[in-house]
Symmetry: C3
Subunit: 349 residues, 3 copies
């Protein structure tokens, strides 16, 4: 975030990185990203969405990553690619690398002598690391993180701060975990014994793959008996709830406020939009997309888009439609009865 951490790249270097065609001066050097309308000299911008094309003519960026269709209109050096957004991601990672680590353990951290912490890892202020924990190379354990007994953090993984990893849980390599995340809380497992809830000990773990990203205050519960498993390259947004025994396939994306009930099995390359709910004990095959605020109540065996979310409309209109919906079955049966009656009458004529 501070200048010293930023990379500096020439347009030529960028073009090589993303396989772009250069139109303009390849020797220009840029050191940060900005949007077309707020960029200043030394910035590179990108144009991906049609809606932003109007800012291209007036941009003060030193260079712009864009598609062929906008190349002719670009007033500055252009880097032409097929997918400007993907190219942007790759370049931005070079220009804005993560903060450099300061290897070592902050004196205020409480670290068990029985923990195995790589010499290249950074453990920040007031972190708590219990016995049997293993922290890999180049990890960042942010301030206030708590790693309970026997948990393991793979190399290059960064826990931003105030992250709780419960006992025996495992996080893979190069993961990024935002603040407030709880990994390995007890699953919601109870048996109902004549009206009272009997707690079932949750003895499984959470096993998280490599290159997983987890948003702020999200929760991933430990398994009841088996483990909860998050595949490689999965991205999980803020305030997502993942119940015990869920299994999430590689490269699946789960957006904010979504909730997966226990034992949900989600395939690879799925996308669950914001506020989606899965009813639990069901299975989504690979390549399933569920749109915003939809609820999935049975397994899905065919890739594709699934939906049940309702879009808001004018409140008075909605009230009328809503009233009809609450009587829909009755209304349709009545309409059919009236139609039937008329058809018989007509038939007799």
């Amino acid at each position: 975030m501070s200048d010293k951490q930023r990379g500096r790249l020439s347009v030529k270097q960028i073009a090589e990185l993303i396989g772009a065609e250069i139109i303009g001066d390849a020797s220009i050097v840029v050191d940060s990203f900005a949007s077309l309308d707020t960029a200043t000299a030394g910035c590179i911008a990108y144009l991906n969405e049609k809606g932003y094309a109007r800012f291209l003519a007036e941009t003060s960026a030193s260079a712009v990553i864009l598609g062929q269709q906008y190349a002719a209109q670009c007033p500055v050096t252009a880097l032409v690619v097929d997918d400007p957004y993907v190219a942007y991601a790759h370049v931005a990672q070079q220009l804005h690398p993560p903060e450099l680590l300061v290897a070592g353990i902050h004196p205020s951290a409480v670290v068990s002598t029985g923990a195995d912490i790589s010499a290249t890892a950074q453990v920040d202020a007031l972190a708590v690391i219990e016995a049997g924990v293993k922290v890999g190379e180049d990890c960042y354990i942010g301030p206030g993180c708590i790693l309970k007994e026997g948990s393991r953090i793979g190399s290059g993984t960064r826990l931003a701060g105030a992250v709780m990893v419960a006992g025996m849980c495992i996080i893979g390599e190069r993961c990024v975990v935002q603040p407030g995340v709880v990994i390995g809380g007890d699953g919601f497992g109870y048996a109902n014994d004549r009206g009272e809830w009997i707690r079932i000990p949750q003895t499984g773990r959470v096993i998280i793959g490599d290159d997983v990203e987890i948003g702020a205050n999200a929760c991933i519960d430990r398994g009841a008996v088996k483990d909860t498993v998050i595949g490689n390259g999965v991205i999980i947004d803020n305030l997502v709830q993942i119940g015990h025994n869920c299994v999430i396939g590689d490269h699946t994306a789960i957006a904010g406020n979504a909730g997966l009930s226990g034992s949900s099995i989600v395939g690879k390359h799925c996308m669950l939009a914001g506020g989606v709910g899965l009813a639990g004990h069901l299975e989504l095959c690979d390549g399933v997309t569920v749109t915003g605020m939809s609820m999935v109540t049975s397994s899905i065996t065919k890739p594709g888009v699934y939906a049940s979310g309702l879009s808001a409309q004018d409140g008075r209109e909605w009230r009328k439609n809503h009233a009809r919906l609450r009587n829909l079955d009755k209304t349709i049966r009545e309409l059919k009865t009236e139609i039937r009656a008329m058809q018989e009458k007509l038939h007799k004529l």
Copy 2:
């Protein structure tokens, strides 16, 4: 979680505990639970759902808890009961007891001299306990927990870590609170004075009964003037929001991502499924079940199941149905008009 904490029970002991009929060797000793398909020798498994019956023949478990209908097929010692899931819960609690406490206050914890902490309680690393706090016998106050002034924690209650209990709030006995929970945050109370929100001081408390379980990152707001009250034996899942002045009856269950607006009164033995919303200032009688992602907007006075959640379907089908729904009132009125016109025409014939 480690072997030393596990219990060891003979099949005979288990049968006595759960009132089971033994078919097979009563002297076998087991020390942990596992699922039918992953169990090894020394494990006990259970069979509750039909879908798992196919794993019974091949199980390597030393014993299985199951219902009468599967007893004949069980290849190992069988414990026959009416409700295998409830029996499982009771046995699992014996085999997997909670971690033993190490009584005392961790040297890194910040504990006010004005706090009253039982000698049998464990206060873990970097916990903060302010003046006037009372922590009962055999409590576990996990790492990073914050107990603000005047709060009280009943005997045997466990706060897993990073739990915030705000001033004057009271938690009963034998409760289990998962990481990240906030008890007693200010309620969302504001008066709108010509367009600007005027904060209303929230002076009530949160009063939580005995044997309550609260999931990770859940929030229970303090009352505005009166208290927010959670009954005995209530179970609350992750990321649940409970607004100020709510009153939740004994043994009610609230699943993940549910949200209760302020002054919701919920009876005993209710079940609110995942993502359910209560509109606030309403009352649910005892024995109400609300299914997933439904919204309750008025009081419910009769026990039973209530619903308004929509199940996802193929996206193209849904788009068409959704378009119809947004015009439902108009469409039905038009259909009725056309039918009326025909009926008149027919009448005149």
Copy 3:
């Protein structure tokens, strides 16, 4: 919360504060608020909702704030105003002022020498304050709060505890932030490169205005390139998710469990009820109200009420209506076809 912090006001002083007409003894002194039914001597109560009028006759309060229509029935000193709820808010703020600060830095806090902390601010136990942070006058930085490098907290702002403010983020003056809030977590920004998610560095900030209130465990993500901006006087409830690049207008209210996808632009004086979802990359003009659990999928350009939330009904009724809804398009087309056929038949007669 403790008696010493409470204010004491005479009815005369209160009447001047809220512009009330006094009916009764103006010299009575009160020191706290209570509800009509639980008030004792020395308390002031208010009557706003019709439903509570039945408690007026029996109240033990020393005085009551109420509207003209109830003045005649009030058995104790009455303070008559137009809007009792707004009056209540103003008086309650005087009677229950926030806890007094104890200026200074708790010895257990970890504060960088490069931080600039006002001498009148209180930094509580085990807070972490990094280099380049600025904490203004009369701030309260509660226990376990983490202020990352370069963040700024305006004068009079209170962070209740366990609040994370990520690097470079800015909070205005007189804000109140409840426990567990994460400000400035990375936005959910990824490009999909042939099935794999490529992380996009999130280099924007969160900029929060003055007099903003944020509920427990809420999350406000930092911008991707530009900033996420929260206007003045905005109130945000528990467990709300605000995605990167959102812009929220002044005096807007967002209730619990609501989720705003990235780049949502919300106007001034809007109200988003509990569980509302915004689809992102859309704009709500000033004065828009969205009712509970509705989803907004396109921009709204006209002030007013918008809705798509469904109210729960009897489960069997709902199942039938739900089944009809899933075939609504087909059913309506069939009905229309049958009607068309009859109309033609009738026409030929």
